[in-house]
């Protein structure tokens, strides 16, 4: 089964290639498998080195095996041309990280071949190669040397790296004194300043917080526009679709689907929905992914807060440094018939299906130095599955802001077309391309009731007719 899926994947990739000029390959992975050997004690690993050879001399002895095998990737092939952007999706433990590590050369494949042409900037385990005793400047030199830069090039790039990281004042301190934010900022600046040919991104399209998150996102986009080959691994299917032409879906170490990103993401979405229906345990994992997409831990606490007055975090650190980070300032979720004593009960908003009007008003602070942001609203069910979403970006309504960069976006759902159940409203503030998330808030719980016994989640607009022939 997996083999079929695989050959199908290869042919679909080949089709894509034929459309363009003959592509020069940047990454060529040929039937790679990775098997982890789990050893109880380090000495067992040494025995495994030596004893099989001894056994080879005395075949009559029983073969000893000192490890337990765990296959994290089986027979995975993919080819990525120069300048292409490939998304990798899959649930936790599907082998995504192993694949990225193999391509970066951190891990060696158990079998198969990997060919990579060009300099890789890996945005995984940012800062893992730092020596904590070294100063920031020394770590720049060390990391750049590892990436293959000559002393002259390093000399040339260092000021730019320091500038971009924004930690000039601490650059001559040992990095062990850095906060984790400063750590990843420096690591990101180094990794992306060395003119990479290939960018490997694990999970996040931006690092750090506030203004740096936006800056890092911009840099990644700039590299993409410059034609850098990108390998992007994420749980966030939306971002994969928005960014990648091609995608693969890994499941239990095998490629379930590969080809055009939209098609792959759709299949993967179907699978996720299936999973969340089938078992509750998977549902937990699924909802974990949603909260991943929601991002920004600082807003997680808001879930239980009264929905009406969600105030964005006013004491944002970046505000002190004079740079305004776009953020959500307030969200008001209300219903037109709230006055009917049907509305607010506890932190949940009660609505009647196809009768109540739902209105979501998002007050936001934009930065006047940046292009105008976009607002998106997601309605998810209690298990975290996205039921519906909308954004002014795809609905083509540019937002308005005043001279201080403040604005309000309101979206109305007249006669709410949800059937009975509990839902959550999640609000996002996105960049001008609607990819980068500035801020998000899980703002309200909706409890929808209905007079009838209709089943399902959505009440579609409908017209009945009947006749007696």
């Amino acid at each position: 089964m997996s083999f079929e899926a695989q050959s199908k994947h290869q042919s679909s990739l080949a089709e894509l290639d034929e459309q363009g000029v003959t592509l020069e390959l940047a990454i060529d992975v040929t039937s790679v498998s990775k098997c982890y050997h789990l050893y109880a004690r380090p000495i067992d690993r040494l025995k495994q080195f030596i004893l099989p050879k001894v056994h080879g001399l005395f075949p009559r002895l029983a073969r000893a095996r000192y490890f337990e095998a765990f296959w994290s990737l089986r027979d995975v092939s993919l080819a990525l041309g120069k300048g292409e952007v490939l998304g990798v999706v899959g649930v936790n433990g599907a082998g995504k990280s192993s694949l990225l590590q193999l391509i970066c050369g951190v891990l060696q494949p158990t079998s198969g071949q990997i060919e990579v042409k060009g300099r890789i900037a890996a945005l995984l385990e940012l800062g893992a190669g730092f020596n904590p005793e070294f100063t920031g400047r020394e770590n720049i030199r060390l990391n750049a040397t590892l990436l293959g830069l000559s002393p002259k090039e390093i000399e040339l790039k260092t000021p730019e790296i320091i500038e971009f990281s924004g930690i000039k004042d601490f650059i001559d301190q040992p990095v062990k004194t850095y906060s984790s934010g400063m750590y990843v900022r420096l690591a990101f600046s180094i990794a992306t300043s060395v003119d990479p040919d290939i960018l490997v991104i694990d999970e996040a399209l931006s690092v750090g917080d506030g203004a740096f998150a936006r800056k890092s996102f911009d840099r990644i986009m700039k590299l993409k526009d410059k034609g850098v080959t990108i390998l992007f691994c994420s749980h966030n299917i939306y971002q994969v679709e928005a960014l990648c032409q091609k995608a693969i879906w890994l499941h239990q170490g095998e490629i379930r689907a590969g080809g055009e990103a939209k098609a792959v993401c759709q299949k993967y979405n179907q699978f996720l929905d299936q999973q969340s229906l089938n078992s509750t345990s998977e549902q937990v994992e699924h909802s974990g992914e949603i909260s991943n997409a929601v991002g920004n831990d600082k807003n997680q606490g808001v879930i239980d807060a009264p929905f009406q007055a969600y105030e964005g975090d006013q004491s944002d650190t970046s505000k002190a440094s004079g740079v305004i980070t776009p953020r959500i300032q307030s969200v008001k979720v209300s219903s037109a018939d709230q006055t009917n004593a049907q509305g607010l009960v506890g932190p949940a908003l009660h609505l009647v299906s196809e009768q109540s009007d739902l209105s979501i008003e998002v007050g936001f602070q934009a930065s006047l130095d940046l292009p105008l942001p976009n607002v998106a609203v997601v309605i998810a069910d209690a298990g975290g599955r996205n039921i519906t979403s909308c954004s002014n970006f795809y609905d083509r309504l540019p937002l308005l802001v005043n001279e201080r960069g403040q604005g309000v976006a309101t979206v109305n759902f007249p006669k709410i077309q949800l059937l009975r159940g509990e839902y959550r409203v999640i609000v996002f503030l996105l960049c001008e391309r609607a990819i980068h998330i500035y801020d998000s808030a899980d703002v309200a719980q909706l409890v929808v009731t209905q007079p009838g016994l209709e089943i399902g989640l959505i009440a579609l607009k409908r017209e009945w007719s009947t006749k007696a022939p």
Partner: protein, 285 residues
């Protein structure tokens, strides 16, 4: 490391290896004394204190016991019959051996832990791990050089002239450095799998001290045992080193060449072992 590498690539790899080695060794030396008040000065102070200690030991404590032996004509240790400075010279003769032994001892005791101290570099980033044991050798070599400078200074202070043969010293120690490099690679690789290696090495270091003419002259060993001592790589080095410094005698070129061949072979073997063993590092760290 496949055969597909072009010469330019090998050269480039070699250069970046050396650059990295240089940076890391520099930092390794600095890190040793970071936070201490005197900093790098300790590299000079500790050996100087050692010389002082030995001088005291052999001019005051063991004076009666060793004095006659030193002054005896024909003894290889006799210093031109000057018994006044003889005791101090004896201390310096000892120091020459101790400096060389300390070099090897530092490499042998530090190597077994050098990889799992840097587990991050094994598991999380692409890093030429070969460089780590070499850094240990390089930073120990720095200590050896300082020891050599101090020894030279003390000899001049003691009123002894140094001959031209001193120029061969950097080459003389090459076989020892190669041996240390090979040992560092092997120990670093094995140390990942066998954590007991570090305590064992403490014993090995002591055994190396007593099985080489560090604390005694080679001539004090009975003739029939003397050749066995040459199994210890320190023996040839220490003997030749002393002959250069005290008697301005050029080392035996043939013996040195043999040392180089053996040293190169051992270093290459060490690199091979490390390369083979490296594949399993990530499995156990």
């Amino acid at each position: 490391m496949s055969g597909k590498w072009t010469r330019a690539q090998i050269l480039q790899y070699g250069f970046s290896f050396l650059r990295l080695l240089w940076q890391l060794a520099k930092r390794d030396i600095q890190a040793k004394y970071r936070g201490s008040v005197l900093g790098l000065l300790w590299s000079f102070i500790t050996p100087l204190l050692t010389v002082g200690l030995y001088t005291f030991l052999f001019t005051v404590v063991f004076k009666s016991q060793w004095g006659e032996d030193l002054a005896r004509p024909g003894s290889r240790l006799a210093m031109g019959g000057v018994s006044e400075t003889g005791h101090a010279s004896y201390a310096l003769i000892l120091f020459a051996g101790i400096v060389l032994h300390a070099f090897l001892a530092e490499v042998l005791t530090r190597s077994p832990v050098v990889i799992h101290q840097q587990a991050n570099l094994v598991k999380k980033v692409v890093f030429p791990l070969h460089v780590l044991p070499a850094v240990t050798v390089a930073s120990s070599l720095f200590q050896l050089c300082i020891g050599g400078v101090i020894l030279g200074g003390c000899l001049l202070f003691n009123g002894q002239a140094l001959g031209w043969s001193v120029l061969c010293l950097p080459f003389l120690i090459l076989p020892l450095v190669l041996f240390a490099l090979g040992a560092a690679w092997i120990l670093a690789a094995l140390g990942v799998y066998i954590r007991d290696l570090a305590p064992v090495m403490n014993w090995v270091v002591m055994a190396l001290m007593f099985s080489a003419p560090v604390l005694y002259p080679l001539s004090s060993i009975p003739e029939k045992w003397r050749d066995w001592l040459y199994l210890n790589p320190l023996t040839f080095e220490i003997e030749a080193f002393r002959h250069v410094i005290y008697w301005d005698q050029w080392p035996n070129a043939l013996a040195w060449a043999l040392g180089m061949v053996l040293g190169l072979a051992f270093a290459a073997f060490g690199a091979w072992v490390f390369h083979k063993m490296k594949k399993g590092f990530a499995d156990v760290l």
